[in-house]
């Protein structure tokens, strides 16, 4: 059996502001291939921590390593080329779904790869979406449709490392199952996520509690979580 490879490491860093950081003393190692979920009360810093993984928030008074390199501006650029981010509340702007999905293919970081209708069609079918909505303006979609479109946009990058913020919060049971199947149970992706949703949390291999300004491994069961009211 090969040794697990370390994807990224926080070594004693603070996240979310320098004077009064939202989280401090963050020690965390995430390995390639695992599915990890940050859980805990709202406003506890889960989303902030996820964004910090991608350089959306500064890590201060500590170190953040990604694939064996101390993260700085140039490593950050490389990092954002291998990790796909799925936002919590996808605000898709005033464009059609097709334009929304296509737009990143014009970005430099996507390396000139072309938008592939077949790949889009595959994910639409897998997530139970009708391709007719491609020509619909994004602001006319339901919350659940928008969330799945946002996931598809990330998956169309072809990247195998996903950072997902509440990926199932607006989904019904059937759509949630489809997303869990594709992202977690397929074992194709490394998934780092934040969630309050047991339908998602229960399928993640690791749970990390983010609460009271601290980050720590949680070994208890879902029932324990419910008892202490942290999810």
């Amino acid at each position: 059996m090969s040794e697990p490879r370390v994807l990224c490491q926080f070594k004693g860093g603070c996240v979310g502001g320098t004077r009064m950081p939202l989280l401090s003393g963050v020690d965390l190692t995430i390995e390639v291939g695992e599915s990890l979920v940050f859980h805990g009360p709202s406003g506890g810093g889960k989303s902030t921590l996820l964004k910090a993984l991608l350089g959306g928030h500064h890590v201060c008074r500590g170190e953040y390593w990604f694939q064996g390199q101390l993260v700085n501006e140039s490593v950050l650029k490389a990092l954002r080329r291998v990790v796909a981010y799925i936002p919590q509340q996808p605000e898709v702007g005033k464009e059609t779904v097709l334009d929304y999905l296509r737009r990143p293919f014009g970005w430099k970081a996507w390396g000139g790869s072309a938008f592939d209708h077949d790949v889009a069609g595959y994910w639409f079918a897998r997530f139970g979406l009708d391709q007719e909505i491609l020509s619909t303006f994004s602001d006319k979609l339901s919350g659940g449709q928008r969330q799945r479109i946002s996931i598809i946009r990330a998956l169309m990058t072809g990247r195998k490392i996903l950072v997902a913020d509440e990926p199932t919060s607006a989904l019904d049971d059937e759509a949630c199952r489809q997303v869990v199947d594709a992202l977690l149970l397929s074992n194709e992706f490394t998934v780092i996520s934040a969630s309050h949703d047991f339908r998602w949390i229960d399928h993640c291999q690791r749970r990390v509690l983010v609460a009271n300004g601290r980050v720590g491994e949680f070994k208890g069961s879902t029932e324990d979580n419910k008892k202490v009211g942290i999810v």
Binding site: G56, E91, V92, P104, W110, T157
Partner: protein
């Protein structure tokens, strides 16, 4: 000129009373800040229009290149400061960038206009100052609209901006949809004016010339 004459202070005051109706309506709708802004705007406009006769006459009499250049710079700086204030931008950070952009933008178009009109000498005040004034007036509206729209869109849809950045977009790439929205919002009124220029705006502007007996096909 038949049918036109000097407007007295009483007539002017009576005419301004038409503003009472929209003013009262805005007040009733709770837009008191806007009513205050309207009142200050009208007062400033009246003062400026009162003074314009004095300073324009002076500038026209002098017809000096350097005086015109200084006056253009004053107009440009006032427009710039007004744009930054109304769009709630930092004057300290953006003054020179905005000043330079206005100077280049207005300078290029003004140069083109002078080439077409060919006044003698080229810096003749009665062409240079009104043309620059019209250009700066349009810049003022367009810039305030575009900046306000841009910054409010970014703050309203911050998550979209952040999501694109974290998905690998460069700063410019992530801002592109917002830039497009802002330009569209700012240019829509200009395009609307252009498409109806001969039917709505221009007859109004040219009435004075027509009443004055000027040939409408010549400048």
């Amino acid at each position: 000129m038949s049918g036109s004459g000097a407007v007295g202070l009483v007539q002017l005051a009576l005419f301004y009373s038409v503003l009472l109706l929209p003013g009262a309506l805005l007040w009733w709708l709770g837009l008191r800040g806007l009513v205050k802004g309207l009142a200050i705007g009208v007062a400033r406009m009246t003062l400026q229009l009162g003074l314009i006769g004095i300073y324009l006459k002076f500038l026209f009499d002098q017809d000096s290149l350097w005086l015109n250049a200084v006056w253009l710079l004053v107009m440009l700086t006032i427009a710039n400061l007004h744009i930054l204030t109304r769009a709630k931008m930092s004057r300290g950070h953006l003054f020179w960038i905005s000043q330079f952009s206005l100077l280049v933008g207005v300078g290029l178009v003004l140069g083109g206009m002078i080439l077409v009109v060919q006044p003698e000498p080229w810096y003749q005040t009665r062409y240079l100052i009104p043309l620059a004034g019209m250009l700066l007036g349009n810049c003022l509206t367009g810039n305030i609209l575009v900046l306000e729209r841009f910054y409010s869109a970014v703050s309203e849809r911050y998550e979209q901006f952040m999501a694109d950045l974290l998905l690998g977009a460069s700063l410019y790439e992530a801002l592109q949809p917002f830039i497009r929205d802002a330009l569209q919002a700012a240019l829509n009124p200009v395009v609307a004016t252009l498409t109806t220029l001969g039917l709505v705006a221009l007859p109004g502007m040219m009435t004075g010339q027509i009443l004055g007996g000027r040939n409408r096909l010549r400048l």
